[in-house]
């Protein structure tokens, strides 16, 4: 082998030109920033995001700007059309529909978001365990999931709520009992793909335990599909809640979700259609925006999938 010889010229400073070649001019872009930049170019998804932000803001502050509260009955002015006093009209007990609609939106959104959060926690833990340990553990848990999944979930939810008293809490619990399985399967698939990569081996040889590898290495790398699944869970949960309200198993009066409001309005639909109009439009718009935004998010996080 030829011996390397160093001459004094090797120790001289680089010229300014040579230095320039190594400077990174553009700021470095993380995977998340990259996804965000892609998402920003998707006009429909961005519009949905803005509409959702607007809906959430009005839901939070709607009670403050409303002219009446959601529970005061006024039997002198029932079933009124929208006016300057009651912006969305009144219901059959003279309660202000503006305030009730946004109150309902709050409950529907809360059901959707909490159900998605429970799915997230349970699904990620179960999916992580199945995917990481594999073998017998995976087989047993997977069979369990398959049986639970093969039982029609809405029927289970109905049964559970018939047994427990209907309230926002029980609705979320009932929705979560079967809701997490989808998330678990998605996480499981991701983890199975990721766990044989070199960085996991590196972490293991440095002495990291399973929980550290899962939480610090695998799950952050599976975050894309997890976020997309959450976005898609929210509208499903909102719909499920509305469906339960329709069966009389929703939140109980004087509180109301959008589903309860629509159900009440249907009885008088031919005479007072505006009672139907606002909650129905709002629930459709919310679900629509969540769906479009979720689609956009999926395209942005996984550009290979895009068609």
């Amino acid at each position: 082998m030829k011996e390397q010889t160093l001459t004094p010229s090797d120790f001289e400073k680089l010229s300014q030109d040579e230095k320039q070649g190594e400077i990174v001019v553009r700021e470095s872009i993380s995977a998340w920033k990259d996804a965000w930049l892609r998402l920003k170019t998707n006009r429909m998804a961005m519009i949905s995001l803005w509409i959702l932000a607007f809906i959430i803001l009005v839901t939070i502050f709607g009670q403050l700007i409303a002219t009446h509260d959601y529970r005061t009955q006024d039997l002198q002015s029932t079933n009124m059309a929208p006016s300057s006093d009651h912006w969305f009209g009144t219901d059959s007990l003279g309660r202000d529909m503006f305030s009730r609609t946004w109150m309902g939106s709050g409950i529907s959104l809360q059901v959707g978001i909490y159900a998605a959060l429970v799915d997230l926690v349970v699904g990620v833990i179960m999916g992580g365990i199945m995917g990481y340990f594999g073998g017998k553990v995976d087989e047993v848990l997977n069979r369990f999931c398959e049986i639970l999944y093969s039982i029609p979930s809405l029927l289970v939810v109905i049964l559970l709520i018939v047994v427990m008293e209907p309230s926002m809490f029980t609705i979320i619990v009932a929705l979560s009992i079967t809701g997490w399985i989808n998330m678990a399967w998605i996480v499981r698939g991701q983890i199975m793909q990721l766990k044989n990569q070199e960085y996991v081996l590196a972490a293991r040889s440095l002495g990291a335990g399973p929980s550290r590898i899962l939480l610090k290495h695998l799950i952050p790398n599976a975050m894309g599909p997890i976020i997309v699944t959450i976005t898609m869970t929210v509208p499903n949960a909102i719909f499920a809640e509305a469906f339960l309200s329709f069966l009389g198993l929703g939140v109980q009066s004087p509180a109301a979700s959008l589903g309860t409001l629509i159900n009440d309005a249907i009885k008088a639909m031919t005479v007072y259609p505006w009672r139907m109009l606002f909650p129905a439009t709002l629930i459709s718009l919310t679900m629509l925006c969540f769906n479009i935004f979720g689609d956009g998010l999926r395209d942005a996080l996984d550009p290979k999938m895009k068609k």
Binding site: E146, I147, S150, I151, P152, L154, L155, V156, I158, L159, L160, V162, V163, P235, F239, A242, F243, F246, L247, G248, L249, I262, N263, I266, M269, T270, P273, M276, A280, I283, S284, M287, L288, F290, N291, I292, D295, K307
Partner: protein, 310 residues
């Protein structure tokens, strides 16, 4: 293949067993007993009723009795309507639900495939974007909103269709449309994306290079493959149509099974709730079972991935 079918069948039976047991114990977990709500029932009659319905037996005996009845397709009698068995109710109601459900499936598949095809053939043009937008709206708007919207437009404003009831053939239009809207939108999205995939496959080039006519290529080579994913959607679609029919029947005042189901819940008629839930579940699982089988036949790759199956 035989092993695959048997495996799926066994799986279905286990699921039904689990659900039946879960239903039984859930209903037993409700505090109080079903006859408590009626006031002023003398203790002796209360006791007699409990005896009559077997509610004094130990839980295990009741469970075995219930399971034994299930095997003989006996779902018990309604607790709120005297002398009416759950099977009777299914017999009267199911025929309406079945008719509407089948029409809805036909409409959904036909419309979904058609629109999916139109979108794929006009990829990145106006018709594509338009169909996609309608499809996203379709999967987002709850079916009861669609139903009441239709009712308002055609029943109240235009007065061309009857608002409710199921007395002549035109009365089917609105319920079927409302019920098929979401599945149609979903199928359109499925067909569009799988069609786009198929259209760029190599065998399409081969077919074109052979000089086959455009229509033959489209129908025999492209659509046939693109329609495969729709088969997997049969299970979820059935679930959708069942839950949808519960709402739709209520809105359009149709005396189908869904309406009995809603009433049973409002009346807390426990045997009826139990019976109808199980009935729905069995239909759904049968649909899923048939989907699995159909898919096994249609797509030979399934067998390969299962190893040396029959």
């Amino acid at each position: 293949m035989v092993r695959y079918v048997l495996q799926k069948l066994l799986f279905m039976l286990v699921s039904i067993f689990v659900l039946a047991s879960a239903t039984f114990f859930l209903m037993k977990a409700i505090p109080g007993n079903p006859f408590q709500s009626e006031k002023n029932i003398p203790a002796a009659i209360q006791e007699r009723l409990n005896e009559e319905y077997g509610l004094n037996d130990p839980l295990g005996v009741q469970y075995l009795h219930y399971m034994n009845n299930l095997i003989h397709f006996d779902l018990g009698t309604s607790m709120k309507q005297q002398y009416v068995t759950v099977i009777d109710i299914i017999k009267t109601g199911f025929i309406y639900s079945l008719q509407i459900g089948i029409f809805a499936i036909i409409v959904a598949v036909a419309a979904g495939v058609l629109f999916g095809l139109i979108a794929a053939l006009n990829h990145r043009k106006f018709l594509d974007g338009f169909t996609i937008l309608i499809a996203v709206i379709g999967v987002s708007i709850p079916n009861f909103v669609v139903a009441t919207g239709l009712q308002w437009i055609f029943g109240v404003k235009l007065r061309v269709l009857d608002v409710a009831g199921l007395n002549d053939p035109t009365d089917f239009i609105m319920p079927v449309l409302a019920l098929s809207f979401l599945p149609a939108a979903f199928i359109a999205r499925l067909v569009r994306s799988s069609m786009l995939e198929v259209l760029s496959a190599d065998y399409m080039k081969t077919a074109r290079a052979k000089g086959l006519s455009g229509r033959v290529i489209l129908v025999r080579h492209a659509l046939r493959n693109a329609i495969l994913p729709v088969v997997t959607y049969i299970g979820p679609m059935t679930a959708n149509i069942i839950t949808g029919s519960v709402v739709i029947e209520q809105i359009f005042g149709i005396g189908g099974l869904g309406k009995f189901f809603v009433n049973s819940i409002t009346n807390r008629d426990y045997t009826l709730i139990m019976g109808l839930t199980l009935f729905y579940a069995v239909i759904l699982m049968l649909a899923r079972f048939l989907t699995d089988i159909a898919y096994g036949f249609v797509d030979p790759r399934i067998k390969l991935s299962r190893g040396k199956g029959g």
